[in-house]
């Protein structure tokens, strides 16, 4: 077991290295000169100023030296200074990363709470009308883009176009938890639900099909034959086997979840890492773009590592 975890961690470290190299290369291979961009759109800048800035940013060094320096700094947690805000990239990211992780984490939890029970239920009612309703809902859930779901939720619960007798929820913004926990959660609820529904649909479909597999196993017939009550068969044997493959699907969906936060944060003006990235791209702030992509990809790699380890714990054959 320890060996398995060590090996999986070593792979994750290797992947982190590869990913950071690709990010560095992509940023440095891009067309256009960042120095000229930083000095503004002036078509005829002072050559001395250009040279000075180039030296200050280390862009006059050979690319391999630049790469080595960047890597050494990145290992020490220094991702450079933002062009547009003139603060360390790590500082901007540090203040926003927890909010994105909170949104993604709450959505993942909601998605499991919705997807797992519905998947089990629809497998047990296979072929009945309620199964048809649930699988149709899941097809819709995987097809509707997260921002469309977001607007749908805003239209229904924030603008309250049908005039339902419900307390309306704020459609955007962010309030610190320490300032007002209830206002914080009111603003978290809609984006988290919008992000969770698509994931819940995938989890539900996978749970359903893996429940159907587990239900048709020989061992289940044996358990029933020996007279074990049906609810015991389902809860203690079928569900335990059925949930293992679902872990893999959750892992595969992590990329979509992290990508989904980008769109979801934009819809709800949630000031997380994704909105920072979109701003950085629009302002061509290369160190900030580089930093955001690197941090979000690292989160992706690390969550995948955790999912793989959990899978290994649940199913010793996968080690």
């Amino acid at each position: 077991m320890t060996r398995f975890i060590l090996r999986r961690s070593a792979i994750a470290v290797l992947l982190l290295f590869v990913v950071s190299s690709i990010v560095f290369l992509t940023v440095h291979m891009m067309p256009g000169d960042p120095v000229l961009l930083m000095l503004g759109t002036d078509s005829n800048p002072d050559p001395q100023a250009v040279e000075a800035l180039r030296r200050e940013l280390g862009l006059d060094q050979p690319i391999l030296t630049q790469y080595a320096n960047w890597m050494l700094h990145a290992l020490q947690g220094n991702l450079g200074t933002s062009y547009s805000e003139h603060v360390p990239v790590m500082q901007s990211i540090g203040s926003r990363l927890p909010r994105t992780l909170e949104l993604a984490g709450v959505s993942l939890l909601l998605a499991c709470l919705i997807g797992l029970p519905l998947g089990v239920l629809s497998a047990l009612r296979r072929g009945k009308f309620s199964d048809l309703v649930m699988t149709t809902g899941a097809s819709l859930g995987t097809s509707i883009p997260v921002y469309v779901l977001g607007y749908l939720l805003i239209i229904l619960f924030s603008l309250n176009v049908f005039g339902w007798n419900i307390p309306t929820l704020p459609s955007s913004g962010y309030v610190n938890f320490s300032k007002s926990p209830s206002a914080h959660f009111q603003r978290l609820l809609l984006p988290a639900v919008a992000l969770a529904l698509g994931l819940a649909a995938s989890i539900m479909r996978m749970t359903r099909s893996s429940m159907l597999d587990a239900l048709s196993a020989e061992s289940v017939r044996a358990l029933r034959a020996k007279g074990l009550p049906e609810h015991n068969v389902i809860i203690r044997h079928v569900i335990r086997n059925a949930f293992i493959p679902v872990v893999t699907v959750i892992g595969l969906q992590m990329g979509n979840l992290i990508g989904g936060t980008v769109l979801c944060e934009t819809v709800f003006n949630w000031p997380g890492l994704a909105t920072l990235l979109v701003k950085a791209i629009n302002q061509r702030d290369y160190p900030l773009i580089q930093g955001c992509i690197l941090v979000m990809s690292s989160v992706f790699i690390l969550t995948n590592m955790v999912v793989d380890i959990i899978y290994g714990v649940l199913d010793p054959r996968a080690r």
Binding site: V19, V27, Y151, I155, G255, L263, A280, I281, I293, S297
Partner: protein, 277 residues
């Protein structure tokens, strides 16, 4: 004929055709079908409700929403279809070679392709588009690169399975050329999982392209695209709900139909998996 008969019995297939056939028509003849010029501004009738002149109303510049929807489908579909085609071709070649050669070279090809999977797809796309510029051509290339690993993996694992079968061994032993073995014998036998993957990839690519356009990183204005229209409508949600609803509805229906097509093809082409979803 058997394929056709099974297809028409499949409700998902029929539903998706009901949406996709008119869609193809719109992709081909959208500009001719549009009742108004999709780029013509008319600020005096901005955010107008639906009328006989503007069947689905107008946007904030007084442009006809229906015309923009009919024209805006083309860039998204170009990106999705050609990007998928590129990914299919690259993935098939890489996967079939890696699977046929096997061993260390095959493994090395697979590891190299897997690197792309280390990034959440939309992030890699945002990085490339943000640095290299948006536009249909760049988006198509990004989609092709992003989805190559999926096809490579499928082609690789299916080739390995087929490669060991006797009829392939026989053909190699009587001295068939590599070209004939790979594309004459192995390719037809690994075709159905790849076809299923094509429809799944098209729907992911539509989602990706519209997401980027929604963020303002995809198709550039004044040319319309569905994702971009949803993004533009954001500021007018409390004034004109339908402005957001129409492009959202068209986009979601298209993705739903493409997804159902994938499900239907899996049911039809892969009897082993039938009824599992």
């Amino acid at each position: 004929m058997d394929f056709l008969k099974r297809s028409m019995k499949n409700k998902k297939f029929v539903f998706s055709m009901v949406v996709l056939v008119p869609l193809v028509f719109v992709i081909l003849f959208g500009p001719q079908l549009a009742p108004n010029d999709p780029l013509a501004m008319n600020t005096s009738s901005a955010l107008a409700p639906s009328s006989s002149q503007y069947p689905l109303g107008t946007d904030e510049y007084g442009r006809c929403i229906l015309s923009r929807l009919l024209v805006g489908v083309r860039p998204s579909m170009t990106v999705a279809l050609f990007g998928t085609l590129g990914a299919f071709a690259a993935g098939l070649l890489l996967g079939i070679f890696a699977g046929y050669l096997g061993g260390k070279i095959g493994g090395a090809i697979m590891r190299a392709v897997d690197v792309i999977l280390c990034f959440p797809p939309i992030l890699l796309a945002m990085m490339v588009v943000g640095l290299w510029g948006a536009g249909v051509r760049n988006l198509t290339v990004v989609v092709a690169i992003l989805y190559t690993p999926h096809f490579t993996r499928i082609a690789y694992s299916s080739t390995i399975k087929v490669r060991k079968m006797e009829f392939v061994e026989n053909e190699i032993s009587i001295g068939a050329t590599l070209n004939r073995v790979l594309f004459g014998t192995i390719f037809p036998n690994i075709f159905s999982p790849l076809v299923i993957q094509i429809s799944l990839t098209v729907s992911s690519a539509i989602l990706l392209e519209s997401g980027l356009s929604f963020l303002g990183l995809g198709v550039q204005p004044p040319d319309p695209s569905w994702g971009q229209m949803i993004g533009d409508a954001r500021n007018f949600l409390s004034v004109d709900v339908m402005y957001t609803v129409w492009p959202s509805l068209f986009l979601s229906l298209t993705i739903l139909a493409t997804n159902l097509m994938g499900d239907a093809l899996r049911d039809i082409l892969d009897p082993k998996l039938r009824d599992s979803f």
